[in-house]
Amino acid sequence: MLLVLVRAFKGPTVIDRLVAINVIGTKSIVLLLFAGILFGQLEMFVDIALGYGLLNYIVSIAASRYYQHRRCLEPTHTANGGQPSRWKS
């Protein structure tokens, strides 16, 4: 998880951060379920994990929709005076 965090911190492009955060979310769901097993009340933690999984999906969709609308995802985007093939971050 620390490695992913490094990527989320340094990440040259926002896409790296986005993917890193998604991976963190997925790993955290697993951690949450492990906590549920530790406490011996798995059925409660499954609810939370489900809710988080659903909302994580929405966050990913919203963020990617943001980049679609802002046209940040096109590698040939040359808005800033001909800065070629560098994704704006």
Partner: protein, 348 residues
């Protein structure tokens, strides 16, 4: 429960991670990256709550902090700008801010020794009301989840006011952002082409649309389960309402805002926001008419076909439904306002 759980190590690991996430979120210059990291931060908080056994709080944090608020921040950034500008003021201003924050921290820390120890059985919270709730909740209300019975029954007033806070937040955002434009009434397609000429519309993603169309019913079913099953498991009106609202937000994001606005007109939406609070308050008034105090659901047993404790349980359910309605439509209205910049026509 097993005696040797690695809870302590788990907590320390999570705390370190939380601090790391907070520092990362503050030091990223790009606001979009910061928003995303902030979502992960609040999920770490959710893990900490879960580790402390506060599953209801963990659920709320997962739904509100990690989920919906990140979407709100994203749609706010969409309508403003993702780059940070340095404030004017220079070094002296920063120094002043630093001194103020440090002083506030010192004051807060100086109050720390006055608190009772963590888990102290003689602290006021543990000595007076908590034993009463723990001993009498099942007998009084037939609700095994103590959090729900305390939240909606014993502390019904607090929750009523919390719901009103959500309502006020929605109204405030609405009244700040909403712009009445004459053009917004006429949804003419040529106006859209004039404002946004996309050669290829990337929002026409078949995969995203079909996946969302598949997910939305399950999300709503799960949210209804969370509201209705809040008596027995973590959850309740707030969490279920947020998930219900999030399912509609998902529709708005994966299709477009117009698709959603065709189904939810502005006026019914705001009426529904208010109706949840009204339902809550009406339940309280009904308790008065049946001879009890305000929000004393036990007196509803003269109307409902069950005994006093079951009447309280049903009263909690009614109140949770009211909370759910208000939260759901508040989330939706806030999202529409933020995403369309108050124009209610098109957006994220």
């Amino acid at each position: 429960m097993m005696p040797s759980l690695p809870i302590w190590q788990f907590d320390v690991l999570l705390l370190v991670l939380v601090v790391l996430f907070a520092v990362v979120a503050l030091s990223i210059r790009n606001l979009m990256g910061a928003a995303v990291v902030f979502g992960a931060y609040s999920f770490m908080m959710c893990l900490i709550w879960a580790g402390m056994g506060a599953v209801d709080v963990a659920f709320t944090e997962a739904a509100v902090g990690a989920g919906v608020s990140t979407v709100f921040i994203v749609s706010t950034i969409y309508n403003t700008s993702a780059t940070m500008r340095s404030r004017p003021g220079g070094m002296a201003f920063k120094l002043f801010i630093g001194v103020v924050v440090t002083l506030a921290g010192v004051f807060l820390l100086s109050a720390l020794p006055d608190f009772p120890d963590w888990g102290d059985p003689n602290s006021p919270a543990n000595a007076t009301v908590a034993p009463y709730y723990i001993e009498n909740s099942i007998r009084d209300t037939h609700v095994p989840n103590l959090v729900t019975s305390v939240l909606a029954d014993y502390r019904g007033f607090d929750t009523l006011l919390e719901t009103i806070v959500v309502f006020i937040a929605c109204i405030a955002i609405y009244s700040i952002l909403r712009i009445e434009t004459a053009k917004s009434k006429t949804d003419e397609p040529e106006e859209d082409i004039a404002t946004a000429p996309p050669s290829y519309d990337p929002s026409d993603s078949l995969i995203v649309r079909q996946a969302s169309r598949f997910m939305v019913p399950f999300m709503q079913l799960f949210a209804l389960y969370v509201i209705a099953h809040g008596h027995y498991s973590p959850g309740g009106g707030f969490q279920g309402g947020v998930i219900l609202g999030a399912s509609l937000i998902l529709l708005a994001i994966s299709f477009d805002l117009k698709f959603l606005l065709r189904q939810w007109r502005e006026k019914p939406l705001m009426l529904l926001v208010a109706s949840g609070v009204c339902l809550y308050a009406t339940v309280g008034l009904a308790c008065m008419f049946t001879g009890g105090n305000y929000l004393d659901y036990g007196s509803l047993d003269s109307v409902l076909p069950n005994d006093r404790a079951m009447a309280r349980s049903h009263g909690i359910l009614l109140v949770e439904i009211g909370v759910g309605i208000t939260v759901m439509f508040s989330m939706l209205a806030i999202h529409i306002n933020l995403a369309s910049n108050g124009r209610f026509d098109r957006g994220l």
